[in-house]
């Protein structure tokens, strides 16, 4: 049983404690409250030096200190406080840093509302338990042998073939039939390499279709995309040590993941309003009559201030675009405004919830749209944004890299899922 220490304020009074425990249980983990006595509380938080007015936050700090000092034991840490509480947000981040600086424990942070349900916490708890139970797998920093990674995304299926730490083949197919697309992608990746599917030593899958494909192909690694993408990003960007933030603006949802030494410790996933997705840029390029690959360079020539686009909704967003163009804005200005609008909304809806750490590694298909990368850079106040080579194949590369550590082991995820 994996023991997850809970460092929190307000979970019980917000009515979400049960949801947290339910989410942990789903992944074979148990929430525990580190035991501290009264005298330790004042001593610990004075030693820590953050003067919180709320006593539950003092208790949270004391519990964190007891983990750091080894007075209590746990396998992982879940830090959570009420959404919109400034005092708690400061304490949450500082406690996270404390745990990361002085222990090896994986940490995930979260800010909840009374609407938070166990299902929203599932991917966090899964990632947290993965980090505990698969620590040795995630610690891998290079690829070995001949392995294949498949990322079955909502819009496209990406495949990467790797041999001895090099990418030797890639595949890129619009997602339709899950298995069929995977096969087409594999064919593209193998093409010209001289290898056949049988030559491959191990396969790893990620993305929405990971379980279906993984079972069909006998994949040794079937893993959610938070762990895989973050690992792939720091691998490609050569940022395996220290802190970084991974941003993936996808076709259907957006992921922002913070990593510490290559291990994810917090992330947000959004996908309620399509105005902030790659799909909006796809529709914009259609309306402008340019290929999606031309949208980025076009945007770089324009000025977003000359065209007003800032709708959360993809339908209203396109209406704004039509109005803007009718009002005389150039295609370049409109392209720039579309990129700016997506970046702004990713910032408003997601990046503000997370403690963004430099460098920011932007990945996924949308990272190839240069205008969007520029917009992210601007909106985050000139932060360093890295777009590594092969960034659009991120999940497949992460999967190919990670599974190379399993090729000579008995671990076989295709047998894990029924």
């Amino acid at each position: 049983m994996i023991r997850i220490a809970q460092l929190s304020c307000g979970t019980e009074y917000s009515g979400v404690q049960k949801e947290i425990e339910k989410a942990a249980e789903t992944f074979g983990a148990q929430m525990v409250m580190p035991d501290v006595n009264l005298d330790d509380i004042d001593e610990a938080y004075e030693k820590f030096g953050l003067s919180c007015a709320s006593s539950s936050l003092k208790l949270m700090i004391a519990r964190a200190m007891s983990l750091v000092e080894g007075k209590n034991e746990a396998d992982a840490v879940f830090i959570c406080t009420c959404f919109r509480c400034a005092e708690a947000a400061i304490a949450r981040n500082e406690v996270r840093r404390l745990i990361q600086n002085y222990t090896d424990l994986p940490v995930v942070t979260y800010s909840f509302t009374e609407k938070t349900k166990a299902s929203e916490l599932f991917i966090r708890m899964e990632a947290l338990t993965t980090v505990v139970s698969r620590k040795s797998i995630l610690a891998r920093e290079k690829q070995e042998g001949l392995t294949l990674g498949i990322d079955s995304g909502s819009t496209t299926t990406k495949v990467a073939l790797m041999e001895n730490d090099e990418i030797i083949g890639t595949g890129w197919v619009k997602t339709g039939d899950i298995i069929g697309c995977a096969n087409d992608g594999i064919e593209q990746a193998l093409d010209g390499t001289g290898y056949k599917l049988d030559d491959i030593e191990a396969i790893g899958t990620t993305g929405y279709g990971r379980i279906t494909i993984g079972k069909a192909m006998g994949a040794k690694l079937i893993q959610e995309e938070i762990s895989v993408n973050s690992k792939g990003a720091v691998y490609l960007a050569n940022a395996q040590k220290g802190e970084a933030t991974v941003l993936d603006i996808g076709g259907m949802d957006n992921k922002v993941i913070t990593v510490n030494n290559g291990i994810p410790d917090n992330f947000t996933m959004g996908g309620i309003c399509a105005g902030a997705s790659g799909r909006f840029l796809d529709m914009t390029s259609n309306r402008l009559g340019v290929d999606i690959t031309e949208l980025g360079p076009l945007a770089q020539q324009g000025n977003y201030r000359n065209a007003i686009l800032n709708s959360y909704c993809i339908v209203f967003g396109i209406q704004d675009l039509v109005t803007t163009l009718a009002g005389g804005a150039s295609k370049a200005d409109a392209a720039s405004a579309a990129c700016h609008s997506v970046a702004e909304q990713v910032y408003e809806q997601q990046l503000q919830e997370i403690d963004v750490r430099e460098p920011l590694i932007q990945v996924g298909g949308t990272s190839l749209i240069a205008g969007l990368v520029d917009a992210v850079h601007d909106i985050l106040g000139g932060i360093d944004v890295i777009v590594p080579e092969y960034s659009q194949y991120i999940g497949s590369i992460g999967a190919a890299m990670l599974v190379s550590g399993l090729k000579d082991t008995d671990i076989d995820d295709s047998k894990r899922f029924k």
Binding site: K18, M33, P34, V36, N72
Partner: protein
Amino acid sequence: MSKKNEDIDSEFCHIPMGDGTYRDSDQKDKITRMVILGPGCSISSKELFNFLHLLELPINIRLTCYGANLNGEPDYVMEAVNRVRELDPTHIFIKFRGFPPGDPRRCRAKRGGAREGFHQIEAEYKLLPEVSYALEHPKHVELTQPKKIPVDEFTEIVKEIESKK
């Protein structure tokens, strides 16, 4: 007493304990009070326990490290509380408690950390000698805050002290 027990049985409810178990309980109409024996109390917790039993009231009594927990119907619990207070009025204190005694939802064994209320008893206990002293020597005091002295008067005093230097 037996009649009362029958009444309790007919008011069974089914309360989830959060660990997959349930408790059949009649707690809905019951209350819990904690008897705290302050420092310098003339009776020991063992004597308290015996005294409570000899009252023969239909209540649950649990001996604890600071006194006892009483759980039952309000009339009986309050009767016990009032009788206990008479034993040493200035050293025996009563605390309200929301959770029934031994409830797994608030139990140290189940959740790891001590329940919040435990820390409070620990801390408030330290103030009890002074509270007991004040109760033994009751008096009324002025509640209105003293007024701030006028600035002129303040200046006068400063000048006076300065001139004496």
